[in-house]
C-alpha cells in the first residue's frame, strides 16, 4: 500500500489546508480526522504527515499521548462508562464489568459483529445522575445492572 492512501472528504481536506498553516494546529486536525473516521487510521496519519510536513513520529507521539484519540476502529455504537468519582462510588465499575460480560468483550475490543465497543471515560459531567453511561450521544443516568440488557438490546436492532 502506498503511504497515505486514503480518501479525505472535501471538508476535511480544506480544514487541513487551513489548519496546517496555523501554528500548533496538529491536535485540531487530529480531532477533525477522528470526527470523520471515528478513529485515526494509520493511512490518514501518513497522509496528514505528507500534507503538513509534520513527521509521522511526531504525529503518533501526539495521538498516543491523548486518551481521546483512538488508533483502532470502534464499534458502530460506542458505549462510554463514566469513571468519574461520583459514578465510581455509586457502582460504575460493576456496570462496566456487567456490560463487558453481556457483550463478552475485553477492554479495547470490538464485538464480533462490529456493533459495540466499550470505553471507560473520564467524568461526563452529570454527576447528579450517577452512575452514568453514554451510548453514542445518549446519556443513561441513575442506572442499575438490571437495566443494562434491555438498553443494549435496543441498540442491536438499530
Amino acid at each position: 500500500m502506498i503511504a497515505g492512501d486514503i480518501e479525505f472528504s472535501d471538508e476535511l481536506q480544506s480544514y487541513i489546508d487551513e489548519w496546517s498553516k496555523k501554528e500548533g494546529g496538529l491536535v485540531m486536525m487530529l480531532h477533525r480526522i477522528q470526527n470523520e473516521f471515528g478513529y485515526v487510521p494509520r493511512a490518514a496519519a501518513e497522509k496528514l504527515s505528507l500534507i503538513s510536513g509534520i513527521p509521522l513520529a511526531k504525529i503518533y507521539g501526539v495521538i498516543t499521548f491523548y486518551h481521546f484519540f483512538k488508533t483502532t476502529k470502534p464499534g458502530k455504537h460506542r458505549i462510554s462508562v463514566c469513571m468519574g468519582t461520583a459514578c465510581y462510588l455509586k457502582g460504575s465499575q460493576e456496570l462496566l464489568e456487567e456490560i463487558r460480560s453481556i457483550l463478552s468483550i475485553e477492554p479495547d475490543e470490538v464485538t464480533d459483529d462490529g456493533l459495540f465497543s466499550v470505553d471507560e471515560v473520564r467524568c461526563l459531567g452529570c454527576c447528579g445522575l450517577a452512575p452514568v453511561i453514554m451510548i453514542d450521544d445518549e446519556v443513561y443516568g441513575k442506572l442499575t445492572k438490571e437495566q443494562l440488557p434491555d438498553i443494549i438490546a435496543k441498540y442491536r436492532s438499530l
Binding site: 496538529l26 491536535v27 499521548f65 467524568c123 452529570c126 447528579g128 445522575l129 452514568v132
Partner: protein, 595 residues
C-alpha cells in the same frame, strides 16, 4: 411584544441527558397547538444547580418551580398555567411528600447560596447575547475600554482580592500585572476550560449557562495586560459548551464586541477555541500551553512562569473559567464590594459540584467562609438513606479527605490546605459508611498512574509503586511495613515531582492514612474491609436465625456454592464462593450478611 409568561427550561448537561430538550420542544409545540404562543416565551437556560431533581422547569412571573418534569407534562403546564393561570401542583418542588411546595428562592439549599459566577445560569438564554446585555453584560468591558486605564483595571482586580479558582489560588491581579510588565509586543490570554477533575462540572455549567461572561472577561484581561489574542482551551468531551461558545463568539463579533476596533476604542481582540483531547495533566499551565502548541501536553519546570514566557515564548496569562467569570462583576460592582464577601484572605464565592452520597447533588455557589457542615447538611440536605457521614473529598485526585471533626472549618484556600486537602477546582464528593477509604485512594491513584505524563521519574514511578501497594492491601496481601512505604514514596513524590500532578498525587492516600489508619490496618491484619467494597476481603455468610430456607439465594448463585434443605437454614461454601454478591442482593430477609 409582551409575553405573559416565561418558561425557563434547564439546558444543563444533567437535565439535557434526562430529556430536557424534548420538554423544551414539547412546550413550544403545545403552546402553538393551544394557540398561546404569543403569550408565552420558552427559553432554554443554563444549570439551576438542582441536578438531583432534574429536569427543572421554572415559570415566571409566578416563580413556579417544577422538578422531575417529563416531556408528557408539557401539555398540562401550558393548558393549566399559561391558559388558566393555575400552577401544576403535582410537579412543584417539595422537600418531602408531606411538605409544603416551595419556590426556588424559598428552598433552604438556595438560601445559603450567593451567586456571582452563576449569576446568569438558569436566568438567561445562553444563546442570546441580548439577554446577557440586558443583565449588565459587556458593561464592564465598556468601563475597561473607556473609563479606566489598563493599570486601573489591574489595580481594581488586585484590590478585589480575587484568586485563581483552578485550585492553586494565585492572586489574579498579580498574574495580570506580571504579564503586563513583561516586555514584548505579542501577548496572549488563555482561558483554561480543561476541567479534568473527575466529579467536577462547575466550569462546564458556567460556560453552558453564561458563555458571554467568559468572553467579556477575556477581552478585559487582554486590554489590561496588552494582549490582542486569546485562546479558550476546552475539553473535547464538552460538545454543548463548545457549541455555545462558538455561538457566543459569533454574536460578539457581530456586535463589534470582539475583533478589530472593539466599540470604536481602537483595541483589537480575537478569540479562538482549541480542543483538549483527554489528558488531565493539561490542566497544568505549562502542559496546557504545550497542548495549544499542538504538542504532547507535558509540563516544564517553572520559572520562567507563563506570565513571562508562555505560549510560543510570549507572555501569557492563564485563567480558569470560574476566575474569569468573576471579573466583569468586579468591574461593574467594584473591588470594595467584592472584597467584602468571604474571609480575610479568600474573597468572593466558590462554586462546588456537590456529589456522591448526598441528598441534593448539584451545583452550588457559596461565599468563602461557609462551613463544610453548612454545605453538606443544610445545602446538600445530608447523607442519603440516613447513612452515616464518613468524609468529604475535596480537590479530586490532588486533594484529601475531610472528616467529621473538621466539618466546622470555614472554607478558604488556607484552611483546606491546613487540613491536608485543598480547594482544588471545586469537586466535593461526599462519602458514607459504605465507602472504603483504601478503595477510594486506590481509585485516585489509578487515575494518576493513567494520567502521569511520564516526563519526571518521581511521578511516573511513584504513582505506579503506590498503586501496587494499595492494590496489595485491598487484596488482603498487605503488610504493615507497606503503610510506611506508602508514606515515604508519597512524601518523596510531593517534594520532587516536576508539576502539581505528581506533587499532589499522594494527597488522597496520605490524608486517608492520617484519618483512617485503623481501616488500613484492618485490611492488613484482620483481612477485613468494613465497608464491604474490597471484594477479595468480603466473606458472605448466611445468618441461620434469619434464613427461612426459601432457596432463592441458591437459585441465584452462579457457582453454585449454596446448599441446604428446604425450609432449613442454608450454608455458603466459602472455599468455592466467587464473591459476586448475587445472593446478598437476592435475599429478601437480610439473612445473607457481608463480613
Amino acid at each position: 411584544m409582551a409575553y405573559k409568561n416565561f418558561i425557563l427550561v434547564c439546558g444543563g448537561t444533567g437535565c439535557e441527558s434526562s430529556r430536557s430538550d424534548e420538554i423544551y420542544k414539547s412546550l413550544i409545540s403545545e403552546a402553538e397547538a393551544l394557540g398561546v404562543s404569543h403569550d408565552v416565551q420558552v427559553v432554554k437556560t443554563g444549570c439551576f444547580g438542582f441536578c438531583e431533581q432534574g429536569p427543572i422547569v421554572k415559570v415566571l412571573p409566578s416563580e413556579s418551580f417544577y422538578v422531575k418534569v417529563k416531556p408528557e407534562d408539557a401539555h398540562e403546564i401550558i393548558a393549566e398555567q399559561v391558559i388558566k393561570g393555575r400552577e401544576v401542583s403535582r410537579l412543584l418542588y417539595r422537600k418531602d411528600k408531606k411538605a409544603e411546595t416551595a419556590k426556588l428562592e424559598g428552598i433552604e439549599s438556595y438560601q445559603k447560596q450567593f451567586r456571582i459566577v452563576l449569576r446568569n445560569c438558569g436566568v438567561i438564554n445562553p444563546e442570546s447575547i441580548d439577554e446577557y446585555i440586558v443583565r449588565d453584560g459587556y458593561r464592564a468591558l465598556e468601563k475597561a475600554l473607556f473609563e479606566m486605564t489598563p493599570e486601573e483595571v489591574i489595580a481594581e482586580v488586585k484590590a478585589s482580592g480575587l484568586r485563581g479558582r483552578g485550585g492553586a489560588g494565585f492572586p489574579t491581579g498579580l498574574k495580570w500585572e506580571a504579564a503586563r510588565k513583561s516586555p514584548g509586543d505579542i501577548k496572549y490570554i488563555v482561558c483554561n476550560a480543561d476541567e479534568g477533575d473527575p466529579g467536577a462540572y462547575m466550569d462546564r455549567s458556567t460556560i453552558e449557562g453564561d458563555p458571554h461572561s467568559i468572553l467579556e472577561a477575556m477581552v478585559i484581561a487582554g486590554r489590561a495586560v496588552g494582549a490582542n489574542f486569546g485562546y479558550i482551551y476546552i475539553r473535547a468531551e464538552y460538545p454543548l459548551a463548545i457549541e455555545r461558545l462558538k455561538i457566543a463568539i459569533q454574536q460578539a463579533k457581530n456586535y463589534g464586541l470582539l475583533g478589530k476596533d472593539i466599540l470604536g476604542s481602537g483595541f483589537d481582540f480575537d478569540i479562538e477555541i482549541r480542543l483538549g483531547a483527554g489528558a488531565f495533566v493539561c490542566g497544568e499551565e505549562t502542559a496546557l500551553l504545550q497542548s495549544i502548541e499542538g504538542k504532547r501536553g507535558m509540563p516544564r519546570p517553572k520559572p520562567p512562569f507563563p506570565a513571562v514566557k508562555g505560549l510560543w515564548g510570549k507572555p501569557t496569562v492563564i485563567n480558569n473559567v470560574e476566575t474569569l467569570a468573576n471579573v466583569p462583576v468586579i468591574l461593574t460592582r467594584g473591588a470594595k464590594w467584592f472584597a467584602s464577601i468571604g474571609t480575610d484572605k479568600s474573597k468572593g464565592t466558590k462554586v462546588f459540584a456537590l456529589t456522591g452520597k448526598i441528598n441534593n447533588s448539584g451545583l452550588i455557589e457559596v461565599p468563602m467562609g461557609t462551613t463544610l457542615r453548612e454545605i453538606i447538611f443544610d445545602i446538600g440536605g445530608g447523607i442519603r438513606n440516613g447513612k452515616k457521614f464518613k468524609g468529604v473529598q475535596t480537590g479530586g485526585p490532588s486533594g484529601g479527605i475531610i472528616v467529621e471533626k473538621d466539618l466546622d472549618t470555614q472554607i478558604s484556600y488556607e484552611s483546606l490546605t491546613a487540613l491536608g486537602s485543598m480547594m482544588g477546582s471545586g469537586g466535593m464528593i461526599v462519602m458514607d459508611e459504605d465507602d472504603c477509604v483504601v478503595d477510594v485512594s486506590k481509585f485516585y491513584m489509578a487515575f494518576c498512574v493513567d494520567e502521569s505524563c511520564g516526563k519526571c521519574a518521581p511521578c511516573r514511578i511513584g504513582t505506579k509503586q503506590m498503586y501496587g501497594l494499595l492494590d496489595k492491601i485491598t487484596k488482603g496481601q498487605g503488610e504493615e511495613a507497606d503503610l510506611v512505604k506508602l508514606e515515604q514514596i508519597g512524601k518523596a513524590m510531593t517534594k520532587a515531582s516536576l508539576c502539581m500532578l505528581g506533587g499532589s498525587a499522594a494527597n488522597p492516600t496520605l490524608a486517608t492514612l492520617r484519618h483512617f489508619r485503623d481501616e488500613y490496618l484492618e485490611h492488613i491484619r484482620d483481612k477485613k474491609c468494613r465497608a464491604g467494597k474490597c471484594k477479595d476481603l468480603v466473606v458472605y455468610e448466611i445468618d441461620p436465625i434469619k434464613c427461612i430456607g426459601c432457596g432463592l439465594c441458591a437459585r441465584h448463585c452462579p457457582v453454585p456454592c449454596i446448599t441446604g434443605e428446604k425450609k432449613k437454614p442454608h450454608v455458603i461454601d466459602g472455599s468455592k464462593c466467587i464473591k459476586c454478591g448475587e445472593c446478598f442482593v437476592a435475599c429478601k430477609f437480610g439473612a445473607v450478611v457481608k463480613r
